[in-house]
Amino acid sequence: MKFAVIVFPGSNCDVDMFHAIKDELGEQVEYVWHDTESLEEFDGILLPGGFSYGDYLRTGAIARFSNVMKEVIKAAEAGKPILGVCNGFQILLEAGLLPGAMRRNASLSFICKPVELNVENNETMFTAEYSKGETIVIPVAHGEGNYYCDEETLAKLKDNNQIVFTYNQNPNGSLADIAGITNEKGNVLGMMPHPERAVDELLGGADGLKLFQSIVKAWREAHVVNA
């Protein structure tokens, strides 16, 4: 399986993401610059964390207008797995690929620490390797992870099982303890915690690895004969 790590000016978790895929997962991965015209050769798209375009105006607001985002939207429509982590999640929200928006953390401080997450839905292409209700530890590092959407949208997220991860102890004030959601179709996941920073016991934990393994397994089952 071949992954693209999209690099915007100001991305800073791109190398972690690349390392997770190449060294821990053993799959193919390439850095892709934000003005790239095509993502056709890739099977999965990863939007890493950071401060794209300095987070000017709003987090993810400027990145959304970069060339590559048209291709990311195309890939999403084609059903390819798209994972946005932290700033990547914020970009997916601004681009309208996921519903809702981010506010500043309720505490107004930047929070950087490992947190416990509940796996609310393990029937997605991103979480099949986890068990339902499993508690995993993944680090967060953000100043704006306070997820918000209106009541109608929240009801829809719940009805469609789009809330994939919730915080065990909400660090940022996000609505309904939301840490990660998918789109309706289930092939776009946005999450504030950084699974790519938890792929090796040397890094303090490897609970994020199953997320990437889930993506690869789902892809193999769909694309490789006799997988």
């Binding site: 105006l57 929200l93 506010r103 500043r104 309720a106 107004l108 209106d150």
Partner: protein
């Protein structure tokens, strides 16, 4: 030429953590009469005249980029200015 002043604030229904912190600090300075503070952004745009209606152009810009309608409201003032 037009000078356009755009104000973007969080919607009434959305809690503004910054505004809340500033309200609290005003209370601790004994300004008990301050009921609420909402913090927003102020932007000045200079826009050249075109065939399109200026209000239509500004409305589009606000909706597409300057504000995120999921959480923010916007309003603007358009002022025509004479170029020297």
């Amino acid at each position: 030429m037009y000078k356009v002043k755009v104000y973007v604030t969080l919607r009434e229904s959305v809690l503004d953590p910054q505004g809340k912190a500033v309200t609290n600090s005003m209370h601790s300075l004994n300004y008990k009469e301050v009921a609420d503070v909402r913090i927003g952004k102020y932007m000045e745009l200079t826009i050249e005249k075109s065939e399109r209606d200026i209000n239509e152009v500004v409305e589009e810009i606000c909706l597409n980029i300057l504000a995120n309608p999921v959480i923010e409201d916007y309003r603007y003032e358009v002022e025509e200015c004479v170029t020297q």
